[in-house]
Every structure is written in C-alpha cells, then in structure tokens.
Amino acid sequence: MARPEEHTTRSRDRVGTPWAGEGAGPRAPRPAAYPGRVRARLTGRSAVEHGLRALCLAAALAPLLMLLVVTATLLVSALPAIRFSGLDFFTGRVFSFGNLYGGTPTVHHGVAAPHNASYGAAPLIVGTLLTSVIALVVAVPIAVGGALVLVERIPRRLQGGLSIFLELLAGIPSVVFGLWALLVLGPLLAQHVYPTLARLGVLVPFLRGPVGNGQGLLTASLMLAVMIVPIVAATTRDLLRTVPVLHKEAALALGMTRFEAVRVVTLPFVRNGIAAAAILGWARALGETMAVLMVSGNALNIFPYNLYAPTTTIAATIAAMLDSALTDATGMGVSALAEAGLALLTITLLTNWIGRQIARRTAGVPLPVGRGF
C-alpha cells in the first residue's frame, strides 16, 4: 500500500513543484537540472537500487558461501583423520578414540593417534542410512494418506482445526520425542509388539532373534517416522490444495469414484512435490541427533544383526563423543568426528540430489515446489 503513495510523492517532487508532498516534508526539493527520469537514475534512486542489488546478491550467495565455509572448515579439521584412516573410515568396524591415558601411539600413514585408536565408521554410516530409510518408508504413506483425508474428505470447517495439530506435532522439540520413545514407546514395543514380529521371523530373516529392551534400530526408526510425518504431511496438504478443483470435478463428472479421482488426477498432479517433501523428511531423519542418541542403543562397533538390534548414527555419535574427543591431546578425536560430520554432509547432499533426480523423472506437471537446483 505504501509503495504507490511514495511513488506519487516522488513524481511530484520530480517535476519540481513547490509543494513537496506530505511524505517528503523535511527534504528540500532539488533543482531540476535534468529531466525527471534521468535525474532519478543518476542520483537518489540509483544509490538505493545499488544497495538493494548488493543486499539481494549477498542474500542469494549466503547459502552457497555458508555451505562452502562449513565444508571447508570440516575438511581442514578432518584432514589428519582422513590421512590416518584412508578407506578404513568407510570399511572399518571399530570407532574408538583409543587409550588417551597411555600406551604407545598408533601411527598410520605418518599420522600419530592415541594407542589403539581406530576410526572405522561403517556401522555409523549403515545405522544412519538404515534408520532414516526405514523411517521414510513408514512415514511417507501415513503422511500422504493423512494429508489426502484432511484435504479431500474432511469438511472444510474442520480442516483448520485438525491442521493445527499437524503443525503442533511438527513443533515438538526432538528431545521430547526422544524422551517419549525412551520411556514409553521403546519398552511398549519391546514387550508387546517385537515378540510378535519376531515370530514372523520364520519368514523374514531380519525379524528373527533377540528383541532386546526397546533401544535399537526399529525403535529409533519408528520414532523418526513420527517426527517426519508432520513435515511430509503438512507439505503434502499444502500441495493438495493447489490441485485445480476443475480437474477434480471433471474426473468426478466422468463418473470416477473419489478414489479413482485421487489416483488419476490428484496424486499425479502433486507426485513431484510429495517426493520433495519426502526428501525434506529424509534430511531431517538423517540429521536428527539427540532423540536418536537416546533410543538407538549407541552401538559403535556392530552392524545391526536384526531389526531390534542396537545401532547408532553419525549425528548421534558426534554428539555423544565430542566431549571425549576434546580430551584427546593428539586432536585426532575431534578430527575423526569432523570426518564423520563431512560424511554426513555428503550423505545428506547425495540423498537430496538423488531424490531430486527421482522427482524430476517422475514429474508429470511442473510445480513450484521441488524444482530448481
């Protein structure tokens, strides 16, 4: 509203009328040495314009710069660990800072680390991918189904109220989810659900074996699923609202059932966006730290032997071990965690990129969400 008003004030100013207008009261009118438009380009407006341009450029470059700075910083601090471990970082199964209080230093590739130190992150990487993928597989159908019901089936006047719960769920701090999963979800599943699942292990090998005490891969994944459902559902809900009513009505007019209309018209229209929403959720699951730390069982050196086995993720390990790493006089502990952080960053970027490629492949109708990159 303010902009056109300001504009008129300027234009009055430009023609050099004695009355400067309300907005420009204290400013003395400049002598009109040039015709109005040229003067405006050369003086006042161009300065503002340049400022705005610089600001916008900085804002546009900021994310790129931040990513570069973070990556560079991580890379520099990770360099000793990268040289020490080499490819063992990806294949090694033991992540240990070694004996910080004595023993002869372990030397690899000319880099010295504490006695018996070993920075094999394979179990962490596997744990990170497994927990997040299982969470995604569980969460996406629930989220999309929920969003469909919310938009397509529920009367409009109830939609707002129910949507609030979705937003509230998304706003719960992750550590609260962690606490809930640790105290309620984990024990509940371990006592009442996992034993039944384990009986199905006759058919599915990964379901077999000891069910543990509720800390482990499946509990962490299910908790992550609960955390990412609101993210995916809220985005999907907003997408579904962009589906043109005429298309849907046309489908119904052709005699389709509501299910057919959703399947043939609505879902293809937003498929691309749903994939993008799923990537958002995936990124959240990959990076989730505290909550996973609380229920994963924190197993640094084993691959999960079944769906209930303790595991850990890169993010949780960084949080759990940073304090110990700080007491490592060789500095290798922090370096190894930086390398783990770099790996997590790479995994996140890769999954993001792959997800976008998939989204682009399956894209039917171009949409504002999920494109770009």
């Binding site: 240990s96 197993a299 303790p310 110990s324 700080l326 007491t327 006089a329």
Partner: protein
C-alpha cells in the same frame, strides 16, 4: 587484603610449595583449618580482590551441584568474587580451561600424560572426593556381591545370567539367584563416571584392559539386550524400569537410586573384602593412595589397596592455569580454591553431604594448597 600465614611474594611461595610437594611423604597431618600450625606451612595469599572478579567454570556435571552450593556463601565471604559454574562435561571443562574461555575447568578425570605435557601450566586441583556405586534391580535380593572382573565379564557379554557360577561363587549366602538375563546399562554421553568405571574394569580384567580399555567414552562390546542412558539420573530411571539390570551410578545420586528400590552392590576390593561406598571406605581408599600422590596431583584412586578401601573412588578436579594474566583474577582463584577445600567454609559437611562427596583427607590438603599457591598473575 587479608594475607594468610606469610606475606611472601606469590612466586616465592609457589617455589616453596613445589618443594613440599616434590619431597613427597606424609608431611601434612592437620586439616586445612589448622593450616597456620602445620609443620611446613604453605603460604597461600588470599583475600577479597580490589575489584569484582567473575570466575567462570565449565565441566563435570557431577561436580556442578557441589559448586552451585558454593556460589552464595563464597559471595558472602568475599563480595568481589562471583563463581559462575556451568555444566557441559569433563572433556569440555578440560578443553575450555586450556583454551582460556573459563578460569576453572571441572573434571572427574585428571589430565592424561599427553595433555599434561602439552599444557604444563594447567594445574590439577582436587577439591573433593567422589565415588561410584554399582546398583542392580533384583527385587528381594539384598547384599549382592560382585567383583571388577565379573563386572567386566558382564559388560563383555561373557556372564549373561544372574545365576552364573561366577556370580554364585562370590555369593555363597545367596541361594536364590534367579536365572534372569543380566541387562548391563551404560552411559551414552561422555562421562567421568564411565571413565572411573572402565578404569576399574581395566584394573581388574586383562581382557577388558586389552579390549575396550578406559576413557570417558569407550567402544563398548555388544551385549544383547544391553541398555544405554544419559546422565546419572537417566541411569537410575532406566535401571528402575528394567528388572535384571546392573548400572554404575555416581554417589551424588545414589540416595535417589536407593529410594527407587535399586540394590547397592558390595564390591570386592583389592584386599578381597566386599565393601559399599561409605564415608569410611572412601576415605580409606584415599588414605591408602595419599602417600604416592605425585606432585602434579594427577592420581588414580581406583582399586586402592587396604582392607577397607572402596574400589571406585576419584578426585573431583578443577583445572586452573597457573599463569594468569590478571593478578586480581589470580588472587580470586587462590582465594576461592583455598576457601573451597576449607572444611569450615566451602568443604563443609553440609555442602559435601548434599552430594555425598567426601572431604580431601588431611594427608592430601597440604599438597593441594601447594598447587593453589602456584597460581600467580
């Protein structure tokens, strides 16, 4: 400015103090309150700084409640000294003290050799003694006895049932040990408690020493059904929920653990006796090791000799730089630390009792004061 004992320059005092520490032997026999009558007095210049000084502390969460108790009484005695303790973990305490972002770094663990060499001016100042209880959840079974090596076997998954012969051998009086699975609980966060617990396992089991070793986090062997918890209160919470569990818990929350119905293990000491962590058994452990405490005060109290010694005992340290850039801060640090180990001031039985710490024994106090005297600016 109030000057204790002698108004000597701090540097000279530090030199003399160092000599006392280096000589070794049980030179001091009196408590800190009687410092003016110790045979070889350690001169520590203390007093209220001429301007307000804030002493920032970060580190051990076990130490934090104890320090928080000191803030107000310290201010009452020395209006210009403000103690600002915060948590963050022992590792953070040490690294922040090295970086100089805090004046005091709280730690349950002493500096490693490598760290001490890298930071020769960082003093390890013990201000209290803490210990660790081993708790279990087996309703109806009291006075369970365990040893460090059996605990190592439990945490390595070699002993998995409560009626395992290894446990039964230690408990000839308990005939009804259940065939229940043992659920070992361990800390997921970096912790001084993990440090002292794994120190005991390393001291008593060669398999543990050559395997996971000891540290504030270790790479734990995978034990089916094991559980993790965050913080000492978390350990109590998880163990309370899990029949068959065994957990290591700092004495400052042991009262809570016992109220929640957990049992306290009688732990076998080096002499072969089974003891619980009490004022008496903890002090016995400290006294048994007091004669051999090195001049830099970096000392383990784990698995100490002596018939009554409790095996998992540790000094609670504050890491302080001996060379301070500001004389007033140095004065405030000396004053606070001297005050903190004084049984009539900071180390009062009320303060210590609130977190179940034990005061530094009189055999150690002169050495600690010698270290405090080295702080100069």
């Amino acid at each position: 400015m109030k000057i204790n004992v002698l108004a000597r320059p701090a540097a000279l005092a530090a030199l003399g103090a160092f000599a006392v520490a280096a000589c070794g032997g049980g030179s001091g026999t009196n408590g800190p309150s009687a410092r003016s009558s110790t045979p070889r007095p350690v001169a520590v210049t203390t007093g209220n700084p001429s301007r307000p000084v804030t002493l920032e502390e970060a580190g051990s969460t076990l130490l934090l409640p104890y320090l928080q108790k000191m803030v107000d009484p310290l201010k009452a005695d020395y209006p210009n000294i403000t103690l600002a303790p915060s948590g963050g973990g022992s590792g953070k305490g040490i690294s922040d003290a090295i970086a100089g972002t805090v004046q005091l770094g709280g730690s349950d663990a002493y500096l490693s050799d490598a760290q001490a060499q890298q930071n020769p001016d960082l003093l390890n100042v013990p201000i209290a003694i803490s210990a660790q209880a081993i708790d279990y959840n087996l309703p109806g079974i009291d006075n369970l006895r365990l040893s460090g090596s059996v605990l190592a076997d439990i945490y390595m998954g070699k002993v998995t049932k409560w009626n395992d012969p290894a446990i039964a051998r230690l408990n000839p009086d308990l005939h009804d040990l259940p065939a229940q699975t043992i659920v070992p609980v361990r800390r997921v966060d970096s912790s001084g408690d993990t440090f002292i617990f794994t120190s005991l396992l390393s001291a008593t089991s060669s398999a543990w020493r050559n395997g996971p070793g000891f540290g504030t986090t270790v790479t734990w062997p995978a034990v089916p059904g094991e559980l993790t918890a965050s913080g000492n209160p978390g350990m109590v919470q998880v163990c309370k929920q899990t029949p068959g569990c065994v957990a290591y818990i700092g004495v400052s929350v042991e009262n809570t653990a016992l109220q929640e119905g957990l049992g306290e293990v009688l732990l076998q000491n080096r002499a072969g006796n089974f003891v619980k962590p009490t004022q008496q058994t903890i002090t016995a452990a400290v006294n048994a090791r007091a004669a051999t405490i090195p001049g830099d005060l970096r000392a383990s109290l784990i698995d100490a000799p002596g018939a009554q010694s409790y095996p998992i005992v540790n000094y609670e340290y504050l890491m302080v730089k001996s060379r301070q850039s500001d004389p007033q801060v140095a004065l405030a640090l000396r004053t606070f630390l001297t005050w903190a180990i004084d049984p009539s001031r900071g180390a009062s039985s009320a303060n210590l009792g609130a977190v179940d710490f034990v005061a530094l024994p009189s055999t150690v106090v002169p050495r600690v004061k010698a270290a405090i005297a080295r702080i100069s600016g």
